[in-house]
């Protein structure tokens, strides 16, 4: 029973092979897929590299074909034949015999040389023995004979050697006759084929290019938030294969060449990586993760467009100008000029002077009614002012006016001249002066807005004067024009050295520039103590003293948040007020919606955009906002946003940083000074500025650009005295170099700036003692005549009313010895427009020759030296006269 039952116990008899087959099939496919995924799908860079290699090969092939097409094929064949013939010559009877004989002789020479050395040793030994015998007092004649014999043997072997050497030299002549031909032909051939060979080399490299991850590892690059040193790993070049290949200039991403090779020359991606500038996730190997589009938790996603310049600031935070990064330079300039640092603490802007004028003596300058309407909305009087709109209510504006009028009434400022001294000018003459002496380099007036347009900013650097006649009192204006520093010792407005008469004309002209809109007739009560106190409170609250010196507010600090780490702020830490989330409207940054509300993107970038466009944007019923309204253009907002993005505390370790040496510091100080005093308004320095030049038909009629060689051009002492008291150098200029009343320290900064740019060091030289080489003086005088330099350059006192008008004269050369550095004169004569592009001075020397071949055989160097010597002597003579009359 049991057994039966057991026999019936079901032993599994169904077949499962079907399932096994299916599941193992699935497993197999799964394995295959995972291998495929691992090897291909997750490694898109492999495909990129293969595609890149074939692109490069294709391009190289076409370049090679073009290069081959340009080759002179007849010349190539000719060369090949010639070379073959020349090589045959090496096998000729004469040459081969010579080579063989030379080999034999060489062997003989070796033997002879060895024998000669032995003979010398033997002679030394014999000499020793002989001397020894002498010392022992037993002179041995046999030893003396032996010595003589050995010496004779030396001479004999030396003679043999010389004879052999002569024969070898003779054979060399024969051999070289054949060899030289081959060598020169080979050199010619490799020169001819060089371009093609270079391409072939590249082609070979491309063909052999391995498919692999390209990684840059920067050890000890930066600190973690826990102050531990951390490395950075970049694999960007694994996909961005063509970054350094000029052939890939037009190629699509990721194969495209980097658009700014000049930047890469200083930041080599092979040693510096890519993420220090571009951010992104360096080690990631797919676009989504590397760029940060897919990985939303990566804190530093790839920077795009103009934002990329933000990272310049990590290392260059103390520089205002980066030549290869115009947007960066421009953003820094906007921050500098807009005075953001008046309210916010900003890295790199800690000791910049306030941008607004002091407000302590306003009642001498303008009326309370004008102050009131200005405080209420400055853009109403002057739409391009840098002063932002605080949107004060009438009451608030009245209170602030009351405070300013109160301190104005307490002011001790009085005009230098009695009241009414301004009267008697002609408006027509004033207009002419206004348009010629240089007012328009900074101030716009009426239709002429060239300076604003060439500057390209939404704001002016100096007030527009279209309505100034309704603003300022003529007494004050006269005092101001005569000496701006009397009213405001800190002002940037320079003195144009106007005579009383000129100043009166200008006052007359500017007084005609009235605000033709109906005047504000609001009745102001400014004496009320409570109102004055309220004004005091508002001025403190809104941080007016961030930009203006105001009596009683000397100790106020910055009223708003520090921005030095603002770039790292998270979008979820920001308050968007009542604005609508804009993402559903696509990429638009800022939209005024139909229901009267505003929409912005609720991202970091969106918040900043909204804030800079309308600073009161995010205010709600409960949250007040004090930041005033600026009127930045879209481009400026974009640049400022990039600047804010740069505000992080991430700084690489010193090894990866730009060295900010003494020279760089000098240059940077100079840049700040030239920006502060608006030197760049007239003079282009370091490829920026010179805005006023656009008003002239020809650049040479405007203020000269200051080339980087300026420091090598003028003597330091001259520059010092010129900046203290400018004098005429270029008689044709109507625009005047103003007197800025710079301090000695400031002048020294300018000097060091120019020296720094021209890579010179400050050295103390007695230019007056520069010797005059007499032998060059007479030829110099002759050349000066033949080349008719005096046609344009006066060389002594200029007679007024001569045939040549002042506008056609060139600088007086008697100034040269007291003004210029002698080496610079040489460089100048070589090629004037290289040192001063657009100059009216023509070049006299080309291809090493001067036009007159009778002097120094036309040799340019000698002639230039002679001219310099003569020009130098002109001033030297003049100066001695001055010394005597003193």
């Amino acid at each position: 029973m049991l057994l039966e039952k057991r026999a019936q116990t079901p032993v599994e008899q169904r077949s499962y092979s079907k399932y096994y087959l299916i599941f193992s099939g699935i497993l197999f496919l799964g394995t295959m897929w995972s291998v495929w995924d691992e090897v291909r799908i997750r490694r898109p860079w492999k495909e990129y590299q293969t595609a890149y290699t074939s692109m490069v090969i294709e391009k190289l092939d076409s370049v090679r074909a073009a290069a081959a097409g340009e080759l002179d094929s007849a010349l190539v064949l000719q060369l090949r034949d010639d070379l073959a013939k020349a090589q045959e010559g090496l096998n000729s009877e004469e040459c081969r015999a010579a080579v063989e004989e030379k080999t034999d002789l060489q062997k003989e020479l070796d033997v002879a040389t060895r024998e000669w050395r032995f003979a010398r040793s033997r002679s030394d030994a014999a000499y020793y023995e002989y001397k020894k015998s002498l010392a022992e007092g037993k002179e041995s004649s046999s030893l003396r004979e032996d010595l003589a014999k050995q010496d004779a043997s030396i001479v004999q072997h030396a003679g043999e050697m010389e004879a052999l050497n002569t024969r070898i030299a003779g054979l060399d002549l024969v051999i070289n006759k054949y060899k030289d031909v081959v060598d020169s032909l080979q050199a010619e051939q490799s020169k001819l084929m060089a371009p093609i060979n270079a391409i072939d080399l590249k082609l070979e490299r491309a063909h052999r290019a391995p498919v692999q991850i390209k990684q840059v590892m920067l050890n000890d690059f930066e600190f973690t938030p826990f102050s531990e040193i951390k490395a950075r790993i970049d694999r960007c070049q694994t996909c961005h294969t063509g970054w350094s290949e000029p052939l890939m200039e037009e190629a699509p991403q990721p194969f495209k060449q980097h658009p700014f090779p000049e930047l890469l020359a200083k930041h080599n991606p092979e040693s510096f990586g890519c993420t220090p500038c571009h951010r992104g996730q360096g080690p990631a190997l797919t676009a989504g993760f590397a760029h940060g589009d897919e990985d939303h938790y990566w804190e530093t996603p790839l920077l795009r467009g103009v934002d990329t310049y933000a990272t310049c600031n990590t290392c260059h935070s103390n520089e205002l100008v980066l030549k290869s990064a115009t947007p960066f330079t421009k953003a820094k300039q906007i921050v500098y000029e807009s005075g953001c640092f008046g309210c916010h603490e900003i890295k790199g802007y800690t000791d910049v002077p306030r941008i607004g004028p002091p407000l302590n003596d306003l009642t001498a300058k303008t009326t309370p009614a004008w102050i009131f309407s200005w405080v209420k909305n400055p853009k109403d009087y002057n739409p391009h002012t840098r002063m932002p709109n605080f949107e004060f209510t009438d009451e608030d504006a009245e209170a602030i006016t009351a405070y300013l009028v109160k301190i104005g009434n307490e002011s001790e400022y009085r005009t230098m001249r009695p009241k009414g001294s301004f009267a008697g000018g002609s408006a027509t003459a004033g207009k002419r002066l206004f348009e010629s002496v240089g007012c328009q380099a900074c101030h716009t007036l009426g239709e002429n807005q060239v300076v604003r347009q060439t500057r390209g900013t939404s704001y002016d650097i100096a007030p527009e004067l279209t309505r100034v006649g309704s603003k300022v009192s003529p007494d004050w204006l006269f005092d101001w024009l005569k000496n701006p520093r009397h009213y405001n010792p800190e002002t940037r407005m320079p003195s144009l050295r106007l005579t009383d008469e000129e100043a009166r004309h200008l006052v007359a002209f500017l007084s005609t520039q009235k605000d033709d809109r109906p005047a504000n007739t609001a009745k102001l009560d400014l004496q009320n103590e409570e109102r004055i106190l309220r004004g005091d409170r508002l001025i403190r609250e809104y941080g007016c003293s961030g930009c203006h010196a105001i009596k009683g507010m000397e100790n106020e600090g910055k009223v708003s948040v520090a921005l030095s780490d603002f770039g790292r702020k998270k979008y979820e830490q920001m308050d968007y007020g009542d604005t609508k989330e804009l993402s559903r409207y696509g990429e638009e940054e800022y939209v005024e919606l139909e229901d009267g509300t505003v929409g912005v993107q609720h991202t970091w970038a969106g918040w900043v955009w909204g804030k800079l466009k309308n600073a009161r944007q995010y205010r709600t019923d409960r949250i007040a906002q004090k930041m005033p309204l600026f009127a930045f253009s879209d481009e400026e907002v974009r640049l400022l946003r990039m600047f804010l993005l740069s505000m992080t505390r991430d700084v690489p370790l010193p090894a990866y940083q730009h060295v900010f040496d003494k020279r760089m510091q000098d240059i940077e100080e100079g840049r700040r000074l030239t920006l502060r005093y608006n030197c760049v308004q007239c003079h282009a320095v370091e490829d920026r500025g010179g805005y006023v030049v656009a008003q002239y038909e020809e650049p040479a009629l405007g203020p000269p650009l200051l080339p980087e060689s300026q420091g090598a051009k003028v003597q330091e002492a001259w520059l010092h005295s010129f900046l203290k008291a400018p004098s005429t150098i270029r008689p044709w200029l109507e625009i005047r170099m103003p007197t800025f009343s710079l301090t000695d320290a400031e002048i020294s900064k300018v000097t060091k700036y120019f020296l720094g740019l021209s890579k010179q060091d400050l050295s103390i030289r007695d230019y007056a003692a520069t010797p005059i080489e007499e032998q060059y003086l007479a030829p110099g005088r002759k050349l000066f005549e033949v080349y008719q330099c005096a046609k344009c350059h006066p060389t002594g006192n200029v007679r007024p009313g001569g045939e040549v008008s002042a506008s056609d004269l060139a600088p007086n050369l008697s100034l040269a010895a007291g003004r210029l550095k002698p080496e610079w004169i040489l460089d100048w004569l070589h090629d004037p427009s290289k040192l001063q592009p657009g100059t009216r001075m023509p070049a006299y020397f080309y291809e090493g020759k001067g036009p007159d071949e009778s002097i120094f055989q036309g040799d340019a160097e000698q002639q230039i030296k002679a001219l310099k010597t003569y020009v130098w002597s002109l001033g030297a003579r003049q100066r001695s006269v001055v010394a005597q009359t003193r």
Binding site: E698, V786, Y787, Q788, K791, C792, E803, V804, S805, D808, P832, S833, G838, T839, R840, M841, P842, A843, Y844, Y846, P851, D852
Partner: protein, 229 residues
């Protein structure tokens, strides 16, 4: 086969041979400005060179009522065709402290010979923006300079020593240009058959364009009229 080849060859030959001249006149209408007298007092050499009064060449109206010194050229329509640079050098003289000619056309790559026929200092300063600008002194009589331009441009040339001196140079990448002379007419020689835009340019009155068709007959005309203001 052979016939076909010969046929194609002849067709190609004819294709290049079909070319014509574009001719025309530059009429002038209205009031011509009063000629500006040039005073050369600043340089006695210049004064001596002239017996009669010298007037500015800015606007010269010919006796037959046409305008002199107008630069006429094919502006558009040549497509990507390239033309070898002219073999002859173009002479640009400074004589009697005046540029001769006052307006000239030249091809890219063609030699411009700048000559000083005056025993005084001149400097030739090209105010070119596309081509490299040059400014060279020529202090001696008989001095010569050779210049070449590699880009298409129309620019002014002046002399700083004698501020009244000015001239204009038009650089073209083809040989189809001309400057009107004393009869105000011009001929653009050997223009291949096709449709073109021809432009006439004058330093004071600006430029005008006209559409021109050069067909198998090989003749085409384009007349322009400038009006004085």
């Amino acid at each position: 086969m052979k016939i076909a080849a010969v046929g194609i060859a002849t067709m190609c030959l004819i294709g290049t041979l079909v070319a014509g001249d574009v001719t025309g006149k530059i009429a002038f209408d209205g009031q011509a400005p009063k000629p500006n007298r040039i005073r050369m007092n600043a340089d006695p050499v210049c004064m001596k060179a002239h017996k009669d009064a010298v007037v500015s060449e800015e606007v010269v109206v010919n006796k037959n009522g046409t305008l002199k010194n107008v630069l006429v050229y094919v502006k558009d329509g040549l497509g990507g065709k390239t033309f070898p640079a002219g073999k002859n050098k173009v002479v640009f003289d400074q004589i009697g402290c005046v540029y001769e000619p006052h307006v000239l056309g030249i091809q890219t790559g063609q030699d411009l010979e700048v000559l000083n026929s005056d025993p005084t200092l001149h400097n030739v300063h090209s105010l070119s923006k596309v081509n490299t600008s040059f400014n060279q002194a020529m202090p001696m009589k008989g001095m010569k300079l050779t210049k070449k331009f590699d880009k298409v441009e129309n620019f002014k040339v002046k002399c700083e020593v004698h501020p009244w001196m000015s001239a204009y140079i038009g650089v073209f990448n083809h040989p189809f240009f001309a400057v009107t002379g004393d009869d105000g007419s011009f001929t653009l020689k050997g223009v291949p058959a096709g449709d073109y835009t021809v432009e006439a340019w004058h330093e004071k009155y600006g430029s005008q364009t006209a559409k021109v068709k050069v067909d198998a007959s090989g003749k085409a005309t384009a007349d322009f009229k400038f009006t004085g203001k």
